[in-house]
């Protein structure tokens, strides 16, 4: 599993596209706000973005439990194919006033921690420039 993290509008998707172009990857499947349930092969690349939306779908769940649940789904997917998670960093602003937004932000943080720990590679994107936080080239 790979993680691409960065603030909004920093060029994360553009980076992933160019990265896969370089690897000459043909089979790319992009999912925004959902984790696919279909099966994929080892040659495929499954790109998942908008974890905020995924979290909001079951925001009533406990933060820790929720993050673990999403992470488990990703782990299962990762066993059959190549998974790239596009994570928007939303944890550096002012604490949101609304309870639901606070929970979203907290759950996102929990999930990202797990993803960072279990991924073989983590890359931060800063306005299009990559920084490898974990794992080699």
């Amino acid at each position: 599993m790979r993680v691409i993290i960065g603030g909004a509008y920093n060029g994360k998707r553009k980076f992933v596209k160019e990265y896969l172009d370089k690897l000459n990857v043909k089979n790319r499947y992009v999912f925004e706000g959902e984790i696919p349930v279909s099966t994929f092969s080892q040659e495929d690349y499954v790109i998942i973005g908008n974890f905020e939306k995924i979290i909001l779908q079951s925001i009533e769940l406990d933060e820790e439990e929720h993050a673990a649940k999403i992470f488990d789904k990703l782990s299962i997917l990762d066993k059959q194919t190549n998974v790239i998670c596009i994570c928007t960093d939303i944890g550096r602003g002012i604490v949101p006033l609304e309870k639901e937004n606070r929970k979203l932000r907290d759950t996102c943080g929990r999930l990202y921690q797990k993803l960072f720990a279990e991924s073989e590679q983590v890359i931060r994107i800063w306005y299009g420039l990559p920084e490898i936080l974990k794992g080699g080239e």
């Binding site: 509008y9 944890g91 550096r92 306005y127 299009g128 420039l129």
Partner: protein
Amino acid sequence: MGRVLFITGGVRSGKSAFAEYYAKELYTKYNSSHLIYIASGVAFDEEMKSRITRHKQDREVSEIEWITVELADEVPTKLDKFQNNSIVLWDCITTWLSNVLYKTQGLNKINRLNQIEHHLNEFKQQIISWKGQDIVVILVSNEVLDEQLSDFSEVNLYRQILGDLHQWIVAISDETYEIDYSLKRQWK
């Protein structure tokens, strides 16, 4: 050939101080003709007034003389006439962009987006033209994109334009810095 330098950071991170220090250092190093400060702040309230005064005073006590150019929104053509071998410090891009958005607020959506696009193009052309001259341009901006989507569409529009603009600036920059409370890290 000129150079473009980009410096960002959170609020009160010390980015302006670093930018001014660096501008003066380059001024001395390159034996430059002028040290130019582009100010985009508009004094719309007391706090903003004192903020501007504080920045002005900092520059006044400087041993090197700054030439201040006010640039609220429209990029004037006379900026083309900066002499080669000048150092230009623009602090900051976020303020300039706020002014552009504020100024165009009364227009209908399509006209507004066109007007914003027009300003952005003027901005980009100016930077490229300076780069073509022997001018060192230091652009200062803010880190404001590491939080959730706002409930206000205006804020999200601002963030999107700013993010895209930052990507453009970073791509053409020769050096880029992110300042974290006086600690700087060089990305490029």
